[in-house]
Amino acid sequence: MESLVISKENFPELINTIIKSYRLFAPTEEKGFSGFNIIKDYLEMDLSYLNSRMPPKAILFNQTETLFLMEPGAKGSIKSKAISNEKSAIFAIRPCDAKGFRIIDPVFLGDVIDPLYKANRDNSVLIGLSCNQPDSSCFCTSFGDSPASGKYVDILFTDIEENYLVEVMTEKGKNFVNNFGRFFTPAPPKEIEAKNAKEKEAIKLIKRNLKVEGIEEKMDKMFNHPIWEEYAKKCIGCGTCTYLCPTCHCFDVVDESTLDKGARVRTWDACMFPEYTMHTSGHNPRPARMHRLRNRFYHKYSYFPKNSDVIACTGCGRCIRYCPVNIDIIELMNRVSEMEL
């Protein structure tokens, strides 16, 4: 790992230089609404944001994607769609959201490789920005991570007042930084210390904690516990928590066509919708909201760790913040953790 600094004075020029050779996604703000968008100029960027409303997973795993093209009908044919290899950089991604990619990597890049996700993943440089201002429902520290963690990004920027400390985390990050070498100087120890101080401060601001220890084993014994029904009662069954989650990756595959052309398209899907598992026969393995809600929490905290050795939750807090009915994963999981069986 290499630590560099760039002064805030030179920073705008760096961004504008990156834009020349990369498709740069960065947070922008409009009427209090933050999101990652392709920017064409430094000024469009807004770094005062807490976190984007949609997780940046939407950049690498689009909500709607074409799988292939077709000529529909009984005499139809199929045509592959070329996959874009455009080089992208995602700037100012939060460490928690970057971890989201690490979590869903084994799904898309496991035994069967998803070509769309792979192309996007390979062609994107993740440039993180440490969180100096975590908000009320952040809890990344519960998973042993930090709001200033560079573990999941290629390069990590941290705002240290006059400068940004730039930590180069991967080979990919190194190559990227080398392209723009003139902007960076090696970091003096005091700047590294400044980052550490910032990190400590930020960690202190995170007040909520989810007790993850032993939760998987606990859940093994709680499949039929009434707690799921209790929470399902107030769940209204919308897709907000899944669509805003940086690790939710389920999708639907549908055909769309006109008379003479068409495509097979995949769109995000949500396990909270009854149609998600409904068989043609009308039989639904998860007929009630209780089943669906339970499956969602089990998938994150039990099934996923069983299959991929990691809890499918990054502590970004979006599902808590935007749940219309205050279903709070921290509250629920802590109750599970503390449950005496």
Binding site: F33, S136, E256, V265, T267, W268, V325, N326
Partner: protein, 327 residues
Amino acid sequence: MVDQKELVKVAKETLARKDVKYIIGYKKGSYGFQTSAAFAYTPKDVEEFIFTPLCNKNLAKYPLKEEKLPLKRGEEEDKRKIGLIVKGCDSRAISQVIQENGMKREEVVLIGIPCPGVIDQKVIEKRFPNQSEITEVTEIDDDYVFTIDGKEQKIPKQELLAEVCKTCEYPNPVLYDIIIGEEVEVNPKAEYEGIKELEDAPLENRWEYWEEQFQRCIRCYACREACPLCYCSTCMADLLEPQWIRRSVNISENTAWNIMRAFHLAGRCISCGACENACPMDIPLMELNKKLGKEVKEMFDYAPGLDIEAKPLLGSFNPDDPEEFIK
């Protein structure tokens, strides 16, 4: 505001009735300024009930959301009533649903609470984004008062009040079995002031505005699920054959969905603002609903959710309805 002790007392009495299975009310939320729906089965559960300016969710959705799974052999259907705490808007929702035969009057026991307006969740959370500690807000005169980090905050009511409450014409429950607290005074308000600017804008600008809004829509259907009047067992949007709306998320399908949602609420929306509250992408859905509410009032002199005996607007007609647009 309602006295908590009285609320608990009335709720307990209602729960004690033989024909009531449970009561839905509000309780403290899990963090910050949240409140949560509470399902009380025992007197102990009822102790948790609160009613504060943060009780901004529409509970009228829940009786409609009750899932009736197939009965096991020998099991009998529980036909007892559901108790429900209703504000003005919630009671209108229930009244509208009853009018449409979505539920029967005898399925619910309504505990009405005259509502002096509730806080807009999004506004208060944006103002205090770091507040993770559970915070109680009280209303004192024209201010909301609460404590943050040991410091008392006093914020003028108008700054935090939900937009729908500012123009609410029916803060007092229109349908109830029991009522707690004193009636709230209704000030005649300019209900449709908020949409005036957009109404007056040129056609193209209006489209640009909505295009930008709908572009954001992620089709999570939180608006639908939160709406007390969206209770169809299968939504048109979920049908595969015929498929009214494609699943892809783009401006065409998103607009079609939003037209469908708004149109299906024409003459039915009771202006509780639940859709807009629930929308994770901050789409101003209430503007569409308000506009249709206004048109319906002007064209047909109709307001929804006031009379359980009335006929649904689009299921009825008057031979003299306006028809200047017809060739």
